[in-house]
């Protein structure tokens, strides 16, 4: 499925830290203090213009909301504020959610919406050509209006060999990609400017998730001429976007300041006057600042502090939560005994006490029936696993499979989290499966996992956007055994066929969603290819007088265009 999309070189796994280019996903690790919302979020409000509901806060007139400084802390420094190069938590969020916009974006509920695009793209009958209308009247921070030329330039520039971008390969399905990536061709032949407010993008193969790829921050829209004029100062001293806040300054290693963009295209927004992002601050120090009232928001909550926060009446109210786009799973090796037997896999599925893991993590994750993350388009609240927790039945099933005396000598890879590992180990022991824990970094164990020597493994991974394609193409298809992270060599042709079929449809086509529901059913209930354990939440602390600073499931940092600070009386 590689031709279909993102080149997934960076799965996120328990404890191990593979995401060198984007440190943010660290927080998804089951071990760390994950982040956010256990319950399904309320129905999605209309995406942009309307202000999202403000639970608990008195609806204030827009003017009354304006003002205040939002102080926050980051653990690292920026690499650059150039959208394709911004890759650590702090600069990635600054580029992706504060200073720039992309053509499309996701709401806090995971709803896909047209941001700098005026509408969802029009897809040609053969599924190859996307026609994207561009919003009129959007102004860059210097006052110039955004035109299609800027869009084309932004999308092709990040592919140039001399421009550093963490996400080039996501665009490999666009016609002309290879010539631009290798150079010296500068123009991406797959992008055509129809008029000042329309572009047309031609793909090599149908790819439903292409609009979702346009929502990723490496495709942030920058002003063509201004960025060329800035030369080497672009991204550090000169930063001009269309986002809700304007760049003021970045003092390397110390702090960055942004101010309110009064001409933001979403009228009335944003409300906060100024953002102060302090850099290179240790998590423990961040907590101290926060508890001293010197911060409106901290994201790096030390795991050990979590129970204390949750049991503190005041602090627990200030805890912001949102489901992440990652999940943790327990997977089987399909070519290794005894997991080549469906009955054994069913027994294991019924043996795992998913709620026990959630309780152990103080309820900062949600146990899953299927395997899609909650913010995903294809997440099905009504989906039920046919193999709920039932150790007695699991034992009987194991006996039926001819393992009445139990199974010995297995290895269970658990990343670096021995605590959760021991919970699962004990669950397995209860039905007679004796498994030794394999602990350590994923790259040290992967060969043995693929070889079937470690036939049971716990993997965690975070998607790049809230769409099940990302998981499916990396985990579930036959091809993903070679190109993705299907290390248990699970292969069911029906899934590959379904993916091929639905990926030719539009992103939000109900038929496409239905196709992914079918895949989930095959994986979880028919083949028991793996067990979806849980969806960790993203967590952060937000001051009590700040409202609507929702956590983004993707970035783990807040949406500040909606946030407003209530003056302390």
């Amino acid at each position: 499925m590689k031709q279909f999309g993102p080149d997934r070189q960076y799965p996120h796994l328990y404890g191990s830290f593979l995401l060198s280019r984007r440190a943010f996903l660290r927080t998804i690790a089951i071990a760390g203090s994950g982040a956010a919302l256990s319950t399904m979020l309320a129905a999605c409000p209309a995406p942009q213009a309307t202000e999202s509901a403000q639970p608990g806060a008195a609806p204030a007139a827009a003017d009354a909301k304006v003002g205040g400084t939002y102080r926050m802390y980051g653990q690292g420094d920026f690499r650059t504020l150039d959208p394709p190069g911004a890759e650590s938590s702090e600069d990635w969020w600054s580029a992706g959610m504060v200073l720039f916009n992309m053509l499309y974006f996701y709401t806090k509920e995971g709803e896909f919406y047209a941001d700098l695009a005026a509408d969802l793209p029009k897809l040609s009958a053969d599924g190859l050509i996307y026609t994207i209308p561009i919003r009129k009247g959007v102004k860059f921070h210097n006052g110039r209006e955004l035109v299609a030329d800027d869009v084309k330039y932004s999308l092709e520039r990040q592919l140039w060999p001399e421009v550093y971008s963490w996400g080039k390969t996501y665009m490999e399905n666009v016609v002309g990609y290879d010539e631009v990536v290798k150079g010296p061709t500068k123009e991406l032949s797959g992008i055509k400017i129809i008029d000042d407010h329309t572009v047309e993008i031609t793909l090599k193969k149908p790819q439903a998730v292409f609009p979702a790829i346009l929502s990723m921050s490496m495709n942030g829209i920058i002003p063509k001429q201004e960025s060329i004029d800035a030369g080497s100062k672009w991204g550090s001293e000169v930063v001009i976007g269309t986002g809700p806040f304007r760049f003021v300054e970045w003092v390397a290693g110390e702090k960055a300041t942004y101010e309110r963009n009064p001409d933001y295209y979403k009228s009335g927004m944003p409300y906060i006057d100024k953002i102060e992002l302090n850099l290179n601050v240790e998590p423990a120090t961040q907590m101290l600042h926060y508890e001293n009232g010197e911060a409106e928001w901290v994201e790096n909550i030390p795991a050990a502090e979590l129970p204390r926060l949750l049991s503190d009446a005041e602090l627990s109210k200030q805890l912001r939560r949102a489901p992440s786009v990652g999940t943790n799973r327990l997977a089987f090796h399909f070519k290794a005994k005894p997991f080549d037997d469906l009955k054994v896999r069913q027994a294991v599925a019924m043996a795992i006490d998913k709620e026990g893991i959630v309780k152990k993590r103080s309820g900062t994750m949600t146990s899953l029936e299927g395997y899609y993350a909650i913010p995903m388009l294809q997440y099905d609240k009504a989906f039920k696993s046919k193999y709920p927790y039932d150790p007695e039945k699991a034992k009987a099933m194991l006996q039926e499979a001819g393992h009445g005396d139990g199974i010995k000598g297995l290895k269970l890879y658990v990343g670096e989290d021995t605590e959760i590992g021991q919970l699962i180990q004990a669950d397995l022991a209860k039905i007679g499966i004796e498994a030794e824990l394999a602990v350590g970094q994923w790259k040290e164990w992967r060969d043995r996992i693929r070889a079937g020597d470690v036939a049971l493994f716990m993997y965690g991974w975070s998607a790049s956007f809230p769409d099940a394609f990302d998981f499916t193409s990396a985990w579930t298809t036959c091809a993903s055994a070679d190109t993705g992270y299907n290390d248990g060599f699970y292969c069911n042709q029906k899934i590959d066929e379904t993916v091929d079929k639905v990926e030719a449809l539009a992103l939000t086509d109900p038929e496409r969603v239905k196709g992914y529901h079918e895949i989930e059913d095959i994986v979880v209930n028919q083949d028991v290819a793996w067990i979806g354990l849980n969806n960790p939440q993203r967590l952060a602390l937000g001051a009590a007088n700040v409202h609507d600073d929702f956590i983004s499931p993707i970035y783990g940092w807040p949406y500040l265009e909606t946030a407003w600070i209530e003056a302390k009386s």
Binding site: A303, A304, G356, G363, G421, Q422, Q425, A426
Partner: protein
Amino acid sequence: MTTLQGIDKFKTKVDQSTAPRATTWWQDVGQRFRHQKVALVAGVLFLLLFVLCLLAPQIAPFSPIEQFREDGLSALGEPLPPNAHFWLGTDGVGRDLLSRLLYGGRVSLGIGIMASGLSVLLALLIGGVAGFLGGKTDFFIMRFVDLVMSMPTFFLTLLLVVMLSPGVWVVITVISLFSWTYPARILRSQILAIKRLDFVQAAYCLGTPRWRIFVRHLLPHVLPLIIVYLALGIPNAIFAEASLSFLGLGVPPPAPSWGSMIQDGMSYYRAAPWVAFFPGLAIALAVISVNLLATGLREVMDPARRGR
């Protein structure tokens, strides 16, 4: 005849009831040891710990690996503090700490004693052979000892354990592999000294086989040293085991050992300090008591220290 008469005379003069009786070396050690009050108390304490751990299957209130997810964890999934049900509280996955402590002691003390024993055995073989044979053999063996002593042992231990995959016997072997050198040097020099004494030379002259000389005439004379270094080695081995377990290279989970229990408790050092405190206390008690016992034994047994 006068001499003989003189002796007889002397004999008659002695009051049998007050005469110092001939004491064996062991009796002498026993008498001296009785004055080592600290060592005596330490010995009793260590014995107590040892017996408690030995009887773990009989006296532990729960299984050391059973997870009480409902009543052994707080609503937020935290360990429970000491209470009437779990006397020392529970650990991160709701297991009874007291039971784990008792079972863990079997591992920690067992490995401590076994590893120390194995290292002294190695020391005796290598140091003994070097001292006994002397000459070039001695030279090469002792240079080898120097070589081993100059190695960064802890890192080599880590490396070996990782390569051989952790387990009780691997840990015992690897710990003893790097802790035999010091006693080996001591034993060698002692044997070097003893083998020149007249009674050993006499045995040579009588044609006694060398192995017999070693076993019957030399070994008894270094036995006190062996006992002292056996005791001195235990705390080091306990520490080494705890360090390895702390780094996740000891006995594999879920089996407890004191070192791995401290490791389990590290993430709760603020929220639930007892999880790491009790195994830490157990290690401290075991190590201090064996150390004091060993020091006392050395005072009364080590030929170099006796009579001071």
